[in-house]
């Protein structure tokens, strides 16, 4: 049965046993639909179950229960057809043969995917040019930079021109220049120009906000909310966020008695601590916040912003995207 949805997931569960009594519910009853041509994001902290879900959809793992259809094919009964219609891109560098050059790598994967022989040469030339790797065609992969390896990984994923792409943390570990390139490429070339359906997982909220038409928040194996980024942000009960940038150690508990402050999120970046408080009245809580923080640390700046996806996530789950749980 072929339907219009590119990916349909209905109530899937995946539990891993750790030892005799311990178990981890990696995917805990998830359902969603992705339409053809959509760029759908799964946003959640490390350990939320995003990669397990991608592995179930790509037939690497068999779910304990539930149904998944990809391009109209059932993952249990027609795994080979599912695989023929998807390309899976993961972060990290080791999805290629480092001792082979880009052409040899692509030729090998073209054979695995059954790309007609007469088209292989042209397809490889096209992909290398598309990714700006033509000059590196004969160099061993081990000699390429991390960014180039990731570009070649994208070429590998596209070698059989799949209609659906599963992209798992594509910019993980890349420098800002290559991360920007990958984001632009995924959005403009693959989704807009080539019309590919993309399921993207990330724990970077900016990446999800920028790229995805719809986003599902995932935490502890469950989907907590699912909508467009704009609607998700609008759904916040508090319409403003007070952000205080400071330096030093701060515990969440010190804000317990702050009135009208919900979903406090503390993150660390570049040696600074960012305390973000979702609120409707930033002016009202400002003085008590400053007083509390000054007792512990030094404040560098204070500002009021609109809620980000991360604020929505914190509000919904009480967990931070960066720190998890």
């Amino acid at each position: 049965m072929i339907d219009n949805g590119a990916i349909t997931v209905e109530g899937i569960y995946k539990v891993f046993k750790k030892g005799r009594s311990d178990e981890v519910r990696a995917v805990d009853g998830i359902s969603f639909d992705i339409k053809k041509g959509e760029l759908f994001g799964l946003l959640g902290p490390n350990g939320a179950g995003k990669t397990t879900l991608i592995k179930c959809i790509s037939t690497l793992l068999i779910p304990d229960s539930g149904a998944v259809r990809v391009a109209g094919y059932d993952i249990y009964r027609e795994p080979l057809e599912v695989r023929r219609h998807i390309g899976v891109l993961t972060g990290g560098e080791r999805s290629l043969y480092w001792k082979l050059n880009p052409v040899e790598n692509l030729r090998y994967f073209a054979a695995l995917y059954g790309v007609p022989r007469k088209h292989v040469g042209d397809r490889i030339d096209y992909l290398l040019e598309l990714m700006g790797l033509t000059e590196k065609a004969g160099a061993r992969v081990e000699k390429l930079s991390s960014g180039m390896k990731q570009k070649l990984s994208i070429a590998r994923v596209l070698v059989h021109d799949p209609p659906i792409l599963l992209v798992d943390e594509p910019t993980l570990g890349l420098d800002p220049y290559f991360a920007r390139f990958i984001r632009d490429f995924v959005k403009n070339e693959l989704n807009r120009k080539q019309g590919k359906t993309i399921l993207l997982t990330t724990h970077y909220m900016d990446e999800a906000d920028e790229l995805c038409g719809r986003i599902a928040f995932m935490n502890r194996g469950r989907i907590e909310a699912m909508d467009t980024p704009v609607r998700l942000k609008r759904s916040m009960p508090q319409k403003q966020v007070l952000e205080i940038k400071c330096q030093g150690a701060i515990e969440k508990e010190i804000f317990d008695r702050v009135p009208d402050a919900a979903g406090i999120n503390i993150t660390h970046s570049d040696g600074f601590v960012y305390v973000r408080i979702n609120t409707d009245n930033p002016e009202m809580i400002l003085s008590s916040m400053i007083e509390l923080i000054q007792q512990k640390t030094k404040i560098f700046s204070v500002r009021v912003t609109a809620p980000t996806l991360e604020d929505v996530f914190v509000d919904l789950t009480g967990a931070s995207l960066r720190n998890g749980k």
Partner: protein, 284 residues
């Protein structure tokens, strides 16, 4: 949208993938040149202790006792043919058994596992690669040893001998795919490979006829493709007297081949499903 691949197209797709796997392995192997050369020297270093042991026992290379038992008195010729063809055991126990682990070490296991070919195709690709590799080593070994030790082989028996080797190889592929399947479930998979290859070497008539084995081991050897393969090859190439008739050898080898291949594929498919259920792929 077209619904699936036609069966002929599918067969050609798999064959092409098997060959691509073979070519890829050659290319990777050739990047480690000293190791590649070593693999061609090693079989000689492995064989000589067995020959020198024979020399020490006999004070020469002729054995009256071996002659009485097998019809071949030349210990060197007898032992050499045995060790030459047992080289294919490496294909089963190591190359095929090791194939998925190797991909894990490259870091490419999950990448290739999402390609639209069944997983046994990668093991089959490795079998093809190792058979070519091992075949080349054997050819060199055969030329050097026969020249060096002035061994006269019956070249008229070459084609029937090769037919037997082919059947033996297919049976060994069955064994190899079992080992490949077990590597999915077992952390210390190499112990299985090592123990299995050692035990097969013990019960296979490589350097001695089956008659010297205790009855239990002799019975066990009846289930192994290497037993009939080596006995038959030695019969065709050196004129070894056989305890069973040639048609029986061919028939038994054919049955063993079918049984091992079927059992092997079943084990592999069960283990693959187990791996995908348990999520043990990434912790192979």
């Amino acid at each position: 949208m077209k619904r699936g691949e036609g069966s002929t197209k599918r067969v050609f797709h798999y064959l092409r993938a098997i060959n691509a796997e073979n070519i890829k392995e050659w290319k990777i192997e050739l990047t480690y040149k000293p190791d590649f050369i070593r693999q061609f020297i090693e079989p000689f270093v492995y064989l000589f202790p067995y020959l020198l042991y024979g020399y020490a026992l006999l004070g020469g290379r002729y054995s009256e006792h071996l002659k009485d038992m097998t019809g071949i008195g030349d210990m060197v010729a007898y032992t050499f043919i045995g060790y030459l063809f047992i080289g294919f055991l490496n294909t089963a126990c190591w190359a095929m058994g090791f194939s998925l682990r190797k991909e894990q070490w490259y870091g490419t296991l999950e990448t290739i596992f999402v390609a639209p070919v069944p997983r046994w195709v990668y093991v089959a690709g490795m079998a093809l690669h190792s058979t070519c590799h091992q075949g080349l080593i054997m050819l060199i070994q055969a030329v050097v040893i026969t020249t060096f030790f002035a061994i006269v082989l019956k070249m008229g028996g070459l084609f029937p001998a090769l037919a037997l080797v082919l059947l033996m190889l297919l049976g060994l592929y069955g064994l190899g795919i079992i080992v490949a399947g077990l590597t999915i479930a077992l952390k210390q998979w190499w112990v299985v490979s090592e123990a299995l290859s050692t035990l097969i070497v013990v019960v296979t008539p490589i350097a001695y006829p089956l008659a010297v084995l205790p009855i239990v081991l002799r019975k066990a050897s009846m289930f192994l493709p290497t037993t009939y393969g080596i006995m038959g090859v030695r019969h065709f190439m050196l004129g070894e007297q056989l305890a069973v008739s040639l048609p029986t050898i061919f028939l038994r080898l054919a049955i063993i081949m079918v049984v091992w291949l079927t059992f092997g594929m079943a084990t592999f498919l069960i283990m693959d499903r187990y791996g995908r259920k348990k999520g043990s792929l990434s912790v192979y």
